[in-house]
Point group: C2
Chain length 197, copies 2
């Protein structure tokens, strides 16, 4: 039944299907444990079709990675947009990222926990990617407006989001007993107490 639904997939739909399947397999097993044959089988497509849309395995991973970083950055921008204060923006961003972690665990797994530089030699470290830069910007802005006290930029950013990011990791590792979202208020309150002017 699954097979019959897929048989007519072509063009951009096929490309999207490949990306979707690749995300699933990479996040579950990792890049190196996933062969192109695995991807081929899992989405009922041929090797030739995959190579038509992506130059090679590395380019496939790169396309996926960049798509997800863009998406994450989009989520961050939309979350902070309606707010003015550093505190409100940070809270909204953390909430949006928690929600994304719950809605799309594979995407967050791939972004947060994969070692991209092992297979994308030219990739920048994740901490300098746009979404993480956006988060750092929020905190630096808050420091300029004296909402948070004067601290090293990296210390301030790590304090604001370090706890929340760690909880996302723990959730994805299955370590948390309580629902992730229930921990949002406490975590961001702790961060704020540590930073406020």
């Amino acid at each position: 039944m699954v097979k019959s639904e897929q048989k007519s997939i072509r063009g951009e739909d096929l490309k999207a299907k490949v990306l979707q399947t690749t995300l699933k397999l990479f996040s579950q097993q990792g890049y190196f444990n996933t062969s192109l044959q695995d991807i081929r089988k899992s989405c009922g497509v041929s090797i030739g079709a995959i190579y038509h849309h992506f130059e090679n395995k590395e380019a496939l991973a790169k396309a996926l990675f960049e798509t997800l970083l863009d998406e994450m950055n989009q989520v961050i921008m939309e979350a902070m947009d309606p707010h003015d204060s550093c505190r409100a923006q940070s809270h909204a961003v953390a909430e949006a990222l928690f929600q994304l972690t719950l809605d799309e665990p594979q995407k967050m797994q791939f972004i947060l926990m994969a070692q991209h530089r092992e297979y994308l030699p030219d990739a920048a470290p994740i901490c300098s990617s746009r979404p993480f830069q956006s988060m750092k910007d929020i905190v630096e802005q808050g420091m300029r407006k004296k909402e948070i006290r004067s601290l090293d930029d990296w210390v301030a950013a790590s304090t604001m989001f370090g706890g929340a990011l760690r909880l996302m990791n723990l959730h994805l590792d299955g370590a948390l007993d309580r629902p992730l979202m229930e921990l949002l208020e406490e975590t961001m309150d702790c961060a704020w107490r540590g930073l406020k002017a």
Copy 2:
């Protein structure tokens, strides 16, 4: 010259040399980008010798991983030992881990940034390993003694050490402009403000 120094390495010395070389290569290139041939060449030993001391590549990685987790836990225990209060213990542990990151970046790189479960299917998530459990214990103890306010255990632990761990990551990624150790006081002060009763 290097070769002539190594030619007589045998037995336990050889085993240690293999582990040391493996750490270097795994932390630099990752597990999957490092072949046994790479290890063989890099430490001037034969494949046969490696297989004599380790059942297979996975067992080699496992031996290395467990050694490093033990070492890290040892560092933590020794750092907290002279202190009583949760605050002093946490500070000492963070300082010791910063120092370990500076002294042995490859070891911390391997512990903090590798995705061990991609090649050690039976490995527990890193957050439940002994060193991380020790850190969590310090915080929970502090909560019982009312030094820090009543919070979810994971939130408290993530707040106390989330910032410091993130800074270690950033340092290893080369993202920090300032020396890691200069950020210790500020980071742990932020964490403490967020947690104190």
